[in-house]
């Protein structure tokens, strides 16, 4: 029982991180129909920026995270306005390839600047923990869950109640009509990329938290959030959160309980198995909407 509670706690913490990463994919996809494969590289950059600011520059951890989030948001805006806008109207495939290429370049750049070694991100929690009823709660994971919940609440309030949230949803539904009724479509796209930057920074921080660190291949781990996106539905923020949770918990439970015959890395493929099973039953994901057919 204690073991299950322990694993569930870790699963929820991992799932919370995946939810953030998945939401980063969804925010951009919803507005522009582009699967942003640079999201994992942005995450990597976010973690390294925090590491550089907090460890090398000696800025306190919280302001370092905030500053990195702002920088990455600006970077996202710059990439959207400077690159993607110029190829707007091209096949989505072209845009997707651009994000893929930009992501690869970004990862190479980070590695060239910071080297291939692991880097601490300067978080104040390290291995400190609190024990509750025999379950060890690492502070870094408690904070992960808390910050992610706060970020998700803020995001959903923004999406549901603010005028830009409404503008994003309108643009997602019909960009031409949105423009015709006065939605600043360009600004909407920039906002979604800024959001993606902030989400990537937070995701990167928690993915690089103890017992991990910032390292050049952490983007691969981030890509494991991708089944969460597919699972939830590419255009559904709620789906991203639920999908992220499911994938995180499945991964941790598989690591804890899967019989040895399945191999040591079964936990890494378990999320993809879940994704395939869900897609067999619901091709548009758990929360994805079937495209509306107009006759």
């Amino acid at each position: 029982m204690t073991e299950l509670a322990q694993l569930l706690f870790q699963g929820v913490a991992l799932g919370a991180t995946y939810s953030l990463i998945a939401l980063g994919f969804v925010v951009v996809f919803r507005a522009s129909k582009v699967v942003n494969f640079a999201q994992t590289a942005m995450l990597l950059l976010g973690a390294y920026l925090v590491s550089w600011l907090a460890v090398d520059q000696g800025i306190a951890f919280a302001p370092a995270v905030l500053l990195a989030a702002v920088l990455l948001a600006l970077g996202g805006i710059g990439f959207q306005a400077g690159v993607l806008r110029r190829v707007a109207g091209q096949e989505p495939f072209v845009l997707v390839m651009i994000t893929l290429g930009a992501g690869i370049a970004l990862i190479a750049l980070v590695e060239a600047v910071f080297g291939p070694e692991q880097r601490p991100i300067g978080d104040p929690w390290a291995a400190s923990a609190v024990s509750v009823g025999g379950v060890t709660l690492l502070w870094v994971k408690v904070w992960t869950i808390g910050v992610v919940v706060a970020a998700l609440v803020a995001y959903f309030a923004f999406d549901r109640f603010s005028r830009y949230g409404l503008a994003i949803r309108a643009t997602a539904a019909d960009e031409e009509a949105a423009g015709a009724v006065g939605v600043p479509v360009r600004r909407v796209h920039m906002i979604t990329w800024a959001l993606a930057g902030v989400l990537a920074t937070l995701g990167g921080v928690f993915l690089a938290g103890f017992p991990n660190a910032a390292h050049p291949t952490m983007g691969d781990a981030a890509l494991r959030a991708f089944p969460a996106v597919i699972l939830g539905g590419l255009e559904s923020p709620i789906g991203a959160v639920v999908g992220g949770m499911v994938i995180g918990i499945v991964e941790v439970l598989a690591a804890g309980y899967a019989p040895a015959e399945l191999g040591a890395n079964f936990h890494a493929i378990a999320p993809y198995l879940v994704m395939m099973l869900v897609l067999l039953v619901r091709p548009y994901g758990l929360f994805g909407a079937r495209p509306v057919e107009r006759l």
Binding site: G179, A180, V181, G182
Partner: protein
């Protein structure tokens, strides 16, 4: 006072002139309809006015300002609202949200203040929601406010779209065949609604329409297009009596052999 001025507009697709030297003006508060048989250039003209097509030559001015220098997305801010022939609604959003989107350009709260709904952003939000509800009430679709528009009947969706146009607080309303694809009952209702929009909200309206009967009921002045030219213009009575218009719509009189 002239609000809209279409000055010698020509639109070519390759060697075909969809519009050929089209000129007319619309006074503030006027209700002008553009009619014509299929292929006369009505849709081309609408797409020029709504900045979807750029004409090969000519000018379009709104209260003296060069409309062709503006991108389509700037029109709302200049007081131009349009409806779409096949509805330009956002399917998953509720009717109220659809109308509220039309007021985006009237809102002032910035991304951050508007994002966290602080102080002024919150009271601004309330004001705009009230205005959106009022617009829905005007088109008699208030009961649909919280329903996603995709599941509403077509006629109600058209009302929601018109409510959104109204909520944009435009100077000029461009309507693209608003009763296309409707049955007689719906046509009569939407025609009546458009008449009320013009009469009670003092909007300047340019209506592009195929349905002669509808146009005759609501428009004060009519421009008849044929093969990209302005064939006739005048009051409904004048246009109806025009030989050329009758020929274009009904064809040449034919001697019937006994």
């Amino acid at each position: 006072m002239t609000l809209l001025e279409v000055d010698d507009v020509t639109l070519r697709f390759g060697r075909v002139a969809a519009l050929d030297g089209v000129s007319f003006t619309v006074a503030a508060g006027e209700f002008l309809a553009v009619i014509g048989p299929n292929g006369a250039g009505k849709s081309s003209l609408f797409n020029v006015l709504s900045r979807v097509y750029r004409p090969s030559s000519g000018a379009v001015r709104l209260a003296g300002e060069d409309l062709l220098a503006l991108p389509a997305r700037a029109l709302a801010g200049r007081g131009v609202a349009r409806s779409f022939q096949n509805l330009g609604l956002f399917g998953h959003l509720t009717a109220l949200e659809n109308v509220l989107v039309g007021r985006h350009h009237l809102m002032r709260a910035g991304v951050l203040a508007g994002g966290v709904m602080l102080g002024r952003a919150r009271s601004e939000e309330r004001t705009h929601r009230a205005a959106a509800r009022e617009a829905l009430a005007f088109v008699d679709a208030e009961s649909a406010a919280d329903t996603p528009v995709a599941v509403l009947p077509y006629g109600v969706q058209k009302r929601v779209e018109l409510a959104r146009c109204l909520a944009m607080e435009p100077r000029l309303l461009l309507l693209d065949e608003p009763v296309a694809g409707m049955d007689q009952g719906e046509r009569a209702e939407i025609t009546d609604l458009i008449h009320r929009l013009h009469a009670e909200r003092a909007l300047t309206v340019v209506l592009v329409e195929h349905d002669m009967g509808m146009v005759m009921r609501v428009a004060a002045r009519i421009v008849v297009l044929d093969f990209g030219h302005v064939m006739a213009s005048g009051t409904p009575a004048e246009v109806q009596a025009d030989e050329r218009v009758i020929r274009a719509y009904l064809g040449e009189p034919v001697e019937v052999a006994s």
